[in-house]
């Protein structure tokens, strides 16, 4: 299960501006971008358990919301909700640490889940997703590889997305 945590639009201006600034520095001027945090949790829990983990542990209900997705590395159900006005055509970039690299956040979350659920997941990995409206996939990839990830420790994927409505 992948839990994707979003900063509510109300509070996300700063993190988006930061992302847009970094992309611009890497030679990719974009007007709008969104980002989210991903928790890939491998555990034999029910959906309501994942909901509880997301709501009680991973999401700050005041500033954040979450969506669940069983399909890793694929476009989650809620791009429409997450997209800002003007972010109709965009790419979704997922960045994870390689499996061989220690995932500090993943380890903490794993233990925290044990604290609230009693049972410990097999594995938890932490990643990030970026939604970036831009024209050229190759330019995006170049910008991403020079600013948002490092091939030495990360793996990433780019998928094309389109918000409905």
């Amino acid at each position: 299960m992948i839990i994707e945590v979003w900063t509510k639009e109300k509070y996300s201006v700063n993190e988006e501006a930061g992302l847009i600034g970094r992309l611009a520095h890497a030679g990719l001027p974009v007007k709008t971008a969104r980002l989210s945090r991903l928790y890939k949790i491998e555990a034999p829990f029910h959906k309501k358990d994942f909901d509880r983990i997301a709501a009680e542990l991973l999401t700050d209900k005041i500033t954040e919301r979450y969506s669940l997705s069983a399909r890793p590395a694929l476009f989650p159900k809620g791009p429409k909700r997450c997209a800002r006005p003007g972010l109709k055509k965009f790419y979704r970039v997922e960045v994870w640490l390689k499996n061989s690299v220690t995932d500090v956040v993943g380890e903490s979350v794993k233990e925290a889940i044990r604290d609230i659920m009693g049972g410990q997941p097999r594995n938890v990995r932490f990643g990030r997703a970026y939604y970036i409206a831009c024209g050229s996939e190759s330019r995006l990839k170049r910008a991403v590889s020079t600013t948002l990830m490092n091939e030495i420790v990360n793996v990433y994927s780019v998928t094309k997305g389109k918000a409905k409505g």
Binding site: S100, V101, T102, V104, N150, I152, V153
Partner: protein
């Protein structure tokens, strides 16, 4: 890099099985495949060693040997023989390090040096009752930071902290230091394909130091950032740590029967260096340069456990798992006794790991303890209370053997002293063709001095570092009494940090502290490596003086970074700088207590040519501050106070920022007059301790004008100055007076009504009044009747206070 096919692997396994019979070509092939980085002679020596045992070595044994003999562990270059040739002389060294740096320490033989050059860090006496020792260590983590700046910096910080935790029976870290060298952020040079931009390296390194240091709860409060395109492909990241240790915890001695216990992080393949082609474990993620991400919270748990266990005397010895992992930590602790290790007991990150990999993995956040069996339970209670993982790896024995197994498989079975005998070493050639001296002071430049001052203040090597410093929790532990950012607005550039370590001593009524700072002058080193060492020691001592530290009790660390030692010119620079270190240590009475070196800092540029770094020597220095309440900051404090310049302004723009800006190519370097400096500093310190000095700031990059501007805007005061009175060498030009960087100078604000007493103390010394502080926020500098420059301090501050990040 070409992927190794199956055929290649079989070949490699075969080679391993007949190691002692391989010819030179095969040896080199094997070395490359295993990533040992041993040279042909060393490989032959390894063969000879194993021939004596009359059997073929196991992989684990070869790995152990390769680790033990590595540059990282043995410092072959610096500790090796060198032949230095110059026009006038030829000098041979059997062991360059021992005959320069260590020699000075031995000759000085200071009674307050408690442990030098033998443990993980140097230790000097600290505090008023001789109850405490101050441990200090700095090292570099250059290559990992070049490829993965964030993880590289994190693990660099973590590594040096563990050096402090692993010195004696463990010191409590109270200060982190960081010094970085990056390519210019505005560099125009084309980068090779895989090189990261200097901006990215800078950002990643700062974030790594921030996230690790802050989480560990250790203030990162002293350091520097130096930009030069020489570091474009090979950034330097120096990380240092200072800690406090009770003097009765400095000695450690493993006893036979002690359990070998690993605490903290788990062991995994992430810590395997170099190309590893073990048969079962190839996947696409195997990287030729495995870089790890730090786990600060595991580091913090380890710290918390160690401090408790140390005070309860629960172990006989401790050391960190650094290069070589278990193999070097256990090898080092058990060198006198012997050790029996059962690797199946190790706590692992995942199971896909070969036994020999467990043995040499450099996974982070691990410490090795030697624990008497009777104390295991008490230790386990602490470990469990802190949620700190651990495992009992085996025990120290009395048979002088190192026996390492995994279930029934033997990973290594060697005599302990086998590892340390017979490492061959060759004489290296060293030359240094000194560049011809050129003095081209740009007297005729039409640029107004004010414009030059403004350019200097905004120069990346002079401007404010606040955007970096404020990302570090430089005040955690509540003891950073002299801060990196100081003055009326909390943003003036301090010369040294002063730490009042009540978080380690628990004593808020003892006002003993210590100051820490650095000296670093690679631009001088390009012209004259010997003077570079003198400049750096002088700068460090002077920075300590500026806060009011006992400079006669200065202890220093050397950290050399250089390109390939196979280049005789690199070795030549090293020899001269090492000689400089010796002479400076002797003159200032400042012994080296620890040090580290890093070679091969060069890579291929976009055109495929080797691109070496300039010879870089970081001098880190500490000295006691008897009463931290009397420590001094740089900012002007009161209108009407007289301003004095201590020291003589001398000719030459060699290695200065002014020279870089004006491009005159002046390479004259005024030599450090060390004896004069020592006399001057002693008198100034006396005045400071009596409370006669309200502010002090050294003259360094950018020269006197920059120093004065910084003192003014940090205090929110102006100053009216006439440099006519300043002590100066004959024939000094106006630009040299304003912007020259000749050594051994500092500016003092003197308490007005204490001026007569102050003058008595500095009688006969080159300490001259050059003006006074004033309320009006204008910096006004004259030379007799001529106005050199005049400007609002807030405008100057605005130019200086750039956002670097």
């Amino acid at each position: 890099m070409k992927k190794s096919g199956r055929g290649e692997m079989i070949n490699f396994e075969k080679l391993l099985k007949k190691f002692t019979k391989l010819n030179e070509k095969e040896l080199v092939k094997l070395d490359k495949a295993c990533g040992w980085s041993l040279n042909a002679a060393e490989l032959r020596q390894a063969q000879a060693c194993f021939r004596k045992t009359k059997r073929e070595p196991a992989r684990g044994e070869l790995e152990t040997l390769a680790q033990t003999w590595s540059e990282h562990c043995k410092h072959k270059t610096f500790s090796g023989p060198v032949r230095f040739r110059s026009k006038s002389r030829t000098k041979r060294y059997k062991n360059l390090f021992k005959e320069t740096i260590v020699k000075a320490t031995k000759t000085l033989n200071k009674p307050w040096c408690l442990s030098v050059f033998k443990d993980n860090a140097g230790i000097v006496e600290f505090g008023r009752d001789k109850k405490w020792g101050l441990a200090f260590k700095a090292e570099t983590h250059n290559h990992p930071c070049a490829v993965e700046p964030y993880g590289g910096a994190e693990t660099g910080v973590g590594g040096v902290i563990r050096d402090i935790l692993g010195v004696g029976l463990g010191a409590k870290p109270v200060l982190n230091t960081d010094n970085f060298c990056f390519g210019r952020l505005d560099s125009k040079m084309k980068l090779p394909r895989h090189a990261l931009s200097p901006e990215r390296v800078f950002r990643g390194v700062v974030e790594g130091v921030r996230d690790y240091g802050n989480r560990m709860g250790i203030p990162t409060a002293s350091g520097g950032i130096y930009f030069d395109d020489g570091y474009l492909l090979n950034p330097l990241v120096y990380v240092g740590c200072a800690g406090l240790i009770p003097v009765n915890k400095i000695d450690k001695k493993v006893r036979p029967g002690d359990l070998i216990i690993s605490i903290g992080g788990r062991t995994g393949r992430d810590g395997i260096h170099g190309a590893t082609f073990s048969s079962a474990n190839i996947d696409e993620e195997t990287s030729a340069s495995a870089v790890q991400i730090g786990h600060a919270i595991n580091g913090k748990k380890t710290l918390d456990v160690l401090m408790k266990a140390r005070d309860l005397n629960l172990y006989d010895a401790v050391t960190d798992c650094g290069a070589g992992g278990f193999s070097s930590a256990v090898g080092e602790l058990g060198a006198e006794t012997g050790a029996r290790v059962r690797l199946e007991n190790a706590k692992l990150k995942d199971t896909r790991i070969e036994p020999w990999e467990i043995w040499v993995s450099e996974s982070q956040e691990r410490m090795i303890l030697a624990v008497p069996p009777g104390k295991l339970c008490a230790l386990e209670d602490i470990l469990n209370a802190e949620n700190c993982e651990y495992c009992v790896l085996g025990e120290f024995t009395s048979d002088g053997r190192l026996l390492v197994t995994f279930d029934n498989e033997t990973v290594a079975d060697l005599e302990m002293d086998f590892l340390h005998e017979g490492l061959p070493n060759f004489e290296k050639e060293a030359v240094f063709p000194a560049p011809a001296a050129r003095r081209r002071p740009s007297e005729k430049s039409n640029k107004p001095y004010l414009r030059t001052l403004k350019e200097l203040l905004a120069h990346p090597n002079v401007c404010s570092r606040h955007s970096v410093i404020t990302q570090y929790d430089h005040e955690v532990q509540g003891g950073t009494v002299i801060k990196p950012l100081q003055g009326r607005f909390g943003d003036g550039p301090g010369d040294a940090a002063v730490i009042w370590p009540h978080s380690a001593t628990g004593d808020m009524r003892d006002f003993s502290g210590f100051a820490a700072t650095h000296g670093f002058n690679p631009a001088v080193g390009r012209i004259n490596p010997y003077q570079m060492a003198l400049y750096s020691v002088d700068e460090a001592v002077r920075n300590l003086l500026c806060v009011g530290a006992e400079v006669s009790r200065t202890a220093i660390l050397d950290n050399f970074c250089a390109a390939s030692p196979k280049d005789p010119r690199v070795m030549g620079g090293l020899v001269l700088a090492a000689e400089g270190c010796h002479d400076a240590a002797m003159a200032y009475g400042a012994p080296f207590i620890s040090g580290k070196d890093s070679f091969y800092n060069q890579s291929k540029d976009a055109g495929g040519r080797q691109y070496p770094i300039p010879l870089s020597l970081l001098i880190s220095a500490v000295a006691p501050v008897t009463d931290i309440r009397k420590a001094v900051t740089i900012n002007f404090k009161e209108a009407g106070s007289p301003v004095y310049l201590a020291g003589i302004c001398r000719k030459g723009f060699g290695g200065s920022v002014y020279d870089e800006l004006s491009g005159t190519g002046d390479n004259l370097i005024s030599e450090v007059k060390m004896k004069d400096a020592v006399r001057l500093y002693a008198a100034v310190l006396k005045a400071m301790k009596r409370g006669f000095v309200a502010a002090a700031h050294d003259v360094s990059q950018g020269g006197l004008a920059v120093t004065l501007a910084e003192m003014a805007f940090s205090g929110g005061f102006g100053a009216e100055l006439d440099l006519d009175e300043a002590a100066a060498e004959k024939g000094l030009s106006e630009p040299e007076l304003l912007f020259g960087e000749s050594p051994s100078r500092l500016v003092l604000e003197v308490a007005k009504e204490k001026e007569p007493q102050f003058l008595k103390l500095v009688k006969g010394l080159p300490v001259k009044e050059i003006g006074f502080v004033r309320e009006e926020p204008i910096l006004d500098i004259r030379l007799g009747d001529k106005r050199l420059l005049k400007e609002d301090i807030n405008i100057l501050k605005g130019l200086w206070k750039r956002e670097l990040l």
